[in-house]
């Protein structure tokens, strides 16, 4: 029981409570969505066991990406082109840094292509949504994070699965609000850029270090892309289809009997 609590406290209960508090006591929706990525950090620090100021491993870069992305958001919030360029540059630099320990032993062309695909996705999707001042359906993003958490946990890393699960737990409060208030969305795309960046980096880490299958990786990438560029109705359908296919593919294609 104690072990179970240890698993769900940082990945479900703490982020859920913080998210409810943020939603309940925020002065405005804009403030809430702006702070949203920050309330993921307590879970992150808890799961890592310490504050990784100097990154030594891939997961140590996650919080730097979130902070960096939020700073860029603040600096260029009205200059969309610069914002997209700097956000993409930040993700590219961190992706290369994260993959370098693997690439230095063996230059893997497939891996390089996959990373370029992620960077291209980030650039086009972020550029489009930010420029159009578009809205991102939070429910769709919640499904993406929850799906990735489940896939990575089944794929072999409970830590990365929990990190993704923690973000899903934060987003689910806003997703419920979105669904119950029957609004198309509650959060502007610009506010969710750090969350999107976090998803992309976590996905690459899962692919490189946990070795989730390539098709699963592509499906989870499509799930996010659908959330960003599709119309709301199609976004839900595409995201759910991609995530469910990714989970089923992993369940059917491998021995996933849990031993945790």
């Amino acid at each position: 029981m104690e072990t179970l609590l240890q698993l769900i406290l940082p990945s479900v209960i703490l982020p859920l409570l913080l998210s409810i508090l943020l939603w309940r006591f925020s002065l405005s929706n804009s403030t809430a969505s702006g702070i949203l990525p920050l309330i993921w950090l307590p879970s992150y620090f808890w799961l890592n066991g310490w504050l990784p100021l100097i990154p030594a491993e891939a997961v140590h870069w996650l919080w730097w990406l979130v902070i960096g992305s939020m700073v860029i958001n603040l600096m260029f919030k009205s200059r969309f082109f610069l914002l997209t360029v700097f956000q993409t540059a930040l993700l590219s630099i961190i992706l290369i840094t994260v993959a370098w320990p693997v690439l230095q032993y063996k230059i893997d062309l497939i891996l390089i292509i996959e990373m370029l695909a992620v960077i291209f996705t980030a650039y086009t999707a972020l550029g489009r949504t930010v420029k159009n001042n578009a809205l991102i359906p939070v429910l769709s993003l919640t499904i993406c994070f929850a799906g990735m958490g489940l896939v990575v946990t089944l794929g072999g890393s409970l830590l990365i699965g929990q990190l993704a699960g923690a973000m899903a737990s934060i987003l689910v409060v806003f997703a419920c609000w979105e669904v119950m208030s029957k609004q198309q969305t509650s959060i502007n795309a610009l506010r969710l850029v750090p969350v999107v960046q976090l998803y992309l980096l976590t996905l690459v880490i899962a692919r490189v270090f946990v070795e989730i299958p390539l098709t699963t990786f592509i499906l989870l990438l499509i799930a996010l892309l659908a959330s960003l560029i599709s119309t709301i109705r199609y976004a839900y359908i595409l995201t759910v289809t991609s995530v469910v296919t990714a989970i089923c593919q992993l369940l059917l294609g491998a021995d996933v009997n849990s031993y945790y």
């Binding site: 030594a56 320990p101 890393s157 409970l158 830590l159 880490i205 490189v208 270090f209 946990v210 996933v256």
Partner: protein, 197 residues
């Protein structure tokens, strides 16, 4: 005919096993340079699981060099591939290789390099202090050594065997994940067989 072949094959296999695994002698190892024989060396570890039992595992890929010199500078280096972790459970091994624990993609090698080797009155190594690099971190550890035997092997070479043990805290090497379920203290045992160069 078939039975005869089977009997001959079995006889040869039994002979090979006896020759291959039979003790050479229990003498004191002579000073000199040795190479660790990966086929007859094992690295095992045990760790508490949920505080109720000990889980035992090992690494299948071990290499290294030993220079024994009781009168001068001794040097021991052991290299272990973290990707070769084996706990007799495929999914668990995959989890152990992930960033949750060994992060084998980023840190493919675990290495021990000695800094000080202590010998007993019979010039047998009994304690080896050195640096263990694991998970990107290097820490001082000390191995307690028990000589097992040494002598000529059936192929004209010279072999020496040692059992070495130590206990480390995985948190000291930045492996903090699942501290409640998986114990912090790891008992490590190396059963080394080395061939004289």
């Amino acid at each position: 005919m078939k039975n005869k072949i089977t009997a001959t094959t079995l006889g040869a296999a039994a002979l090979a096993i006896i020759i291959g695994t039979g003790p050479v002698s229990a003498a004191v190892a002579v000073a000199g340079s040795y190479t660790i024989d990966p086929d007859h060396t094992s690295v095992q570890f045990s760790v508490s699981h949920l505080g109720t039992s000990k889980l035992v595992g090992g690494f299948n890929s071990v290499a290294g060099d030993i220079l024994l010199n009781p009168q001068g500078k001794s040097n021991i280096e052991v290299r272990i591939e973290t990707n070769s972790v084996d706990t007799n459970h495929k999914k668990r091994d995959s989890h152990l290789r992930s960033p949750d624990f060994f992060n084998a993609k980023q840190f493919p090698l675990m290495k021990f390099v000695s800094s000080n080797v202590k010998y007993n009155q019979n010039n047998e190594p009994v304690s080896i202090a050195g640096k263990l690099t694991l998970h990107g971190k290097t820490k001082d550890i000390t191995l307690s050594v028990k000589p097992v035997g040494a002598g000529k092997d059936p192929w004209g070479g010279y072999r020496a065997g040692y059992d070495a043990t130590t206990t480390i805290k995985r948190s000291a090497f930045g492996m903090n994940f699942m501290q409640g379920g998986v114990g912090d203290e790891i008992n490590i045992t190396l059963n080394i067989e080395a061939i004289k160069k």
